[in-house]
């Protein structure tokens, strides 16, 4: 176990450095933030500011300085907010994480029962209907679903607030929107992995013991069928975290995605670096958790 943790930690460090390097290079290749900070100032004044921000040093020097500071949790001052970038990102992280967790929970809560239903009653009308909905759901872009739900529930029926964040009612539409993006995938995976196990010998044995169909499916079949779902949930979590930016924009949710996109437009390097870095850490951590959970669910897998 400890060898596993060490190896995992090393891999984590490599991922962090890789993410930083890529973000750093893309940002520095993309333009001069000083031109955006001082739009009408003469070149001499801009050069002074560039010196003061350390932007005129050679790139490798800047990168080493960035990594050294980042290791101590210091991502520098945001060029525009004039506050530590890390704090700005951390401040918004609970919102984005909350939205993502809600969406994943919602997606699983819908996908698991429907997926099981589709597998058990495969090739019935219900199964086909579920499949149709799956394709429909996956073909619709997130922002479009969001706007349609908003028009229906907030403008037409006035049941929910149009946008904003803070009250439970304001979280419903963003969570449903983001969840709708991933539900179909979960549903398909549960259906197919259930189909794989449902006719295996041990399931037939369980039935032969006289257990009720309900118990057979929930206790015996589902446990094995759940393995791929755990993996996919981990991967989807990362995807949703990144994809939350569209939902955040449509529903005016004050999350990290919106902050980072705004910062990219303004070339606010420290915020982008801190934001991408923190998201990368979260995604790596979630995948680590998934690996551990995997062992718990499937004792035949060893950590190494």
């Amino acid at each position: 176990m400890s060898a596993f943790l060490i190896r995992r930690f090393l891999r984590f460090v490599v991922v962090c450095i890789g993410v930083s390097l890529v973000t750093f290079s893309i940002l520095h290749a993309s333009g001069d933030p000083v031109a955006l900070i001082m739009p009408e100032a003469p070149e001499a004044d801009r050069a002074k500011l560039r010196d003061a921000l350390g932007l005129s040093d050679p790139l490798p020097t800047q990168f080493v300085r960035f990594v050294a500071n980042a290791a101590r949790g210091d991502f520098g001052q945001s060029f525009f907010h004039r506050e530590p970038a890390f704090g700005l990102v951390v401040e918004r992280m609970p919102t984005t994480l909350g939205l993502t967790c809600l969406a994943v929970t919602l997606a699983l809560a819908i996908a698991i029962p429907v997926g099981i239903y589709s597998a058990v009653f495969r090739n019935t009308l219900g199964d086909h209907a579920a499949t149709a909905i799956v394709f429909l759901g996956q073909s619709m872009p997130v922002f479009w679903i969001g706007i349609m739900l908003m028009l229906l529930f907030a403008v037409q029926w006035r049941l929910l607030p149009v946008s904003g964040w803070g009250t439970w009612s304001s979280m419903v539409l963003p969570a449903v929107t983001l969840g709708a993006f991933t539900t179909p995938l979960f549903m398909r995976i549960i259906r197919s992995s259930m189909l794989e196990v449902i006719n295996l010998d041990y399931v037939r044995t369980a039935r032969a013991k006289g257990l009720s169909e309900w118990l057979v499916i929930c206790r015996h079949a589902l446990r094995n069928a759940a393995l791929p779902i755990v993996t996919v949930t981990g991967l989807q979590f990362g995807l949703l975290l990144g994809g939350a930016v569209l939902t955040e924009t449509v529903f005016a949710v004050p999350g990290v995605g919106r902050l980072i996109v705004g910062a990219i437009r303004q070339l606010d390097f420290p915020i982008v670096q801190a934001g991408v870095f923190l998201l990368a850490i979260i995604i790596v951590s979630v995948n680590f958790l998934v690996d551990v959970l995997y062992v718990y669910l499937n004792p035949t897998v060893r950590l190494h």
Partner: protein
């Protein structure tokens, strides 16, 4: 089973129902939707329109601009030029900051000094470029200050209209960071209650404001990036004012029982800037051909709901120096073809135009089509506005053969505000340095810029307009309107400078 499911669904919905209008505000609150918040509430440390609109309701400047665009006294009760480079301002007495302290000449001097930072290497205010002509701020007596510029600076008054006066002692006490986020204090009609980043800025009326009490006790600026969302909020009463309503949304907001629109021409001019460094637009005839090729009237009527005006050059009727005797290019495809042949392209020529005006994509494509019809076979290249575009277009000047875009003059109502960035070739300038090669134009722009004799400036600008009409460094297109979507519960009209001066807003009926 089906019954049971339906019941569950209904129950869930019922549980989620919130009282209707929970998001809507009472009669003492006006709510404005902005696409985002500026990074700080400190009026000197950003230069974003969304921030300016909030700041002007919290801070006063030396001068105010009326809805008719005339200068009005604000913190200065009178002003005059003592010489070409020295201006005198008499300050209003007894004006209070939100923290109760009295505004003094010290505060005025401090406000300018923190942007100009005399003696400091690191100038960090984005507004430095706007006021850098001010060399010194001198306190003559407690109610009088002199602003001394390094050379004659006719734009001084324009620049002062948005230059908030901030409290010296308060900032020294709380620090710049707190001043820009939680402890923002000005002399304006509203004071800060709460700023939740990316959510809302909440202001409350300042009872001791020198103008008196505003009609709305509370102002809320919500950050809503998506237009469709802002429109939905307006219709359901979540917000009272939305900005920048596009032509395609107007019928919807006009016919909705709770909303209306208010539209006005603004200081934004559209043009295709032509790259005079290389063929075919190094030839005057080719540039004129492009101007004759565009049917501006048709585009304004068909694509902009009639909300726009054709212009003769990039100088607009509302700007100082506009010369009405210069006539716009008419639409004349035949003449365009002749001119193109004269320029040496009887069989036409291939060109590429660039733009990052994503909201105007259909217009850009229509322009390309019209140019193609006369033989300027155009490839339109649409860019995502952002770093890559800034670098390609502005920093490196690689956008050959031209760019379609618009210029908002930073709401400065003077011909210089558009002529200098577009046509002056000074290094460090905007696009003139890449594109423009009109002989003698730099000299004229400089001459007009360095005089405060308005009659002389007017003469020079008239000459410049005749010159660019003839030389055609751009295809001159149209002015734009700004359209607000407004709740019928609120009485307020759009301003030509795109400001939201909410002191003028009142509850309707």
């Amino acid at each position: 089973m089906r019954c049971w499911l339906t019941g569950l669904f209904a129950l869930t919905l019922a549980a989620l129902v919130v009282p209707i209008g929970a998001g809507a505000q009472g009669k003492d609150t006006i709510t404005v939707a902005l696409p985002s918040h500026a990074p700080t509430l400190d009026p000197h440390m950003h230069f974003e329109r969304v921030g300016v609109l909030v700041n002007i309701n919290m801070f006063d400047s030396l001068l105010h601009r009326s809805a008719k665009l005339e200068f009005e006294p604000s913190l200065a009760v009178s002003w005059k030029a003592l010489s070409d480079t020295m201006w005198e301002f008499k300050l209003r007495k007894g004006v209070k900051f939100h923290d109760g302290s009295i505004m003094t000449a010290e505060d005025v001097k401090f406000s300018f000094d923190r942007v100009l930072e005399p003696g400091q290497e690191k100038k960090k205010s984005p507004q430095y470029g706007n006021v850098r002509a001010i060399k010194e701020v001198k306190i003559v007596d407690p109610d009088t200050i002199h602003l001394i510029t390094d050379k004659p600076f006719p734009l001084l008054l324009e620049r002062l209209v948005y230059f908030g006066i901030v409290p010296k002692k308060h900032i020294e006490k709380v620090g710049e960071e707190a001043f820009g986020s939680t402890a923002t204090v000005g002399t304006g009609p509203w004071k800060l209650v709460e700023w939740k980043r990316d959510q809302h800025i909440r202001l409350e009326a300042f009872d001791q404001h020198w103008r008196g009490k505003p009609a709305f006790r509370y102002v809320v600026f919500r950050a809503i990036p998506e237009v469709a969302t802002a429109v939905a909020e307006l219709k359901t009463g979540g917000v009272d004012i939305i900005r920048n309503v596009n032509a395609d949304l107007m019928p919807d907001l006009k016919s909705h029982p709770q909303t209306r629109i208010s539209t006005t021409p603004i200081l934004r001019v559209h043009y295709i800037s032509l790259d005079m460094r290389s063929a075919p637009f190094d030839k005057k005839a080719a540039r004129q051909a492009a101007n004759y090729a565009i049917d501006k009237q048709a585009m304004i009527q068909k694509m902009m709901a009639g909300l726009g005006k054709q212009v003769a050059t990039v100088v607009q009727p509302a700007a100082f120096g506009f010369d009405p005797s210069v006539a716009p290019y008419s639409y004349d495809a035949k003449k365009a073809k002749e001119l193109l042949a004269q320029a040496g392209y009887p069989n036409g020529v291939d060109i590429t135009l660039h733009s990052a005006a994503v909201d105007w994509r259909p217009h850009f494509e229509a322009l390309g089509q019209m140019l193609t019809e006369v033989g300027l076979r155009t490839t339109v290249k649409m860019w995502d506005p952002g770093p890559a575009w800034n670098k390609f277009f502005q920093a490196e000047g690689k956008a050959t053969n031209g760019q379609y875009g618009s210029w908002g003059n930073y709401s400065v109502f003077d011909a210089d505000a558009v002529l200098h960035p577009l046509y002056h070739t000074e290094p460090g300038g905007w696009i003139g340095k890449h594109y423009a090669r009109v002989e003698g134009l730099d000299k004229l722009i400089d001459e007009a810029r360095s005089s405060i004799d308005q009659a002389k400036r007017k003469r020079i600008y008239a000459e410049i307009q005749r010159m660019i009409r003839e030389e055609a460094p751009s295809v001159f297109l149209w002015t734009q309107n700004d359209t607000l979507g407004i709740s019928k519960k609120v009485a307020y009209e759009a301003r030509p400078d795109e400001w939201l001066w909410l002191f003028a807003a009142k509850p309707a009926n």
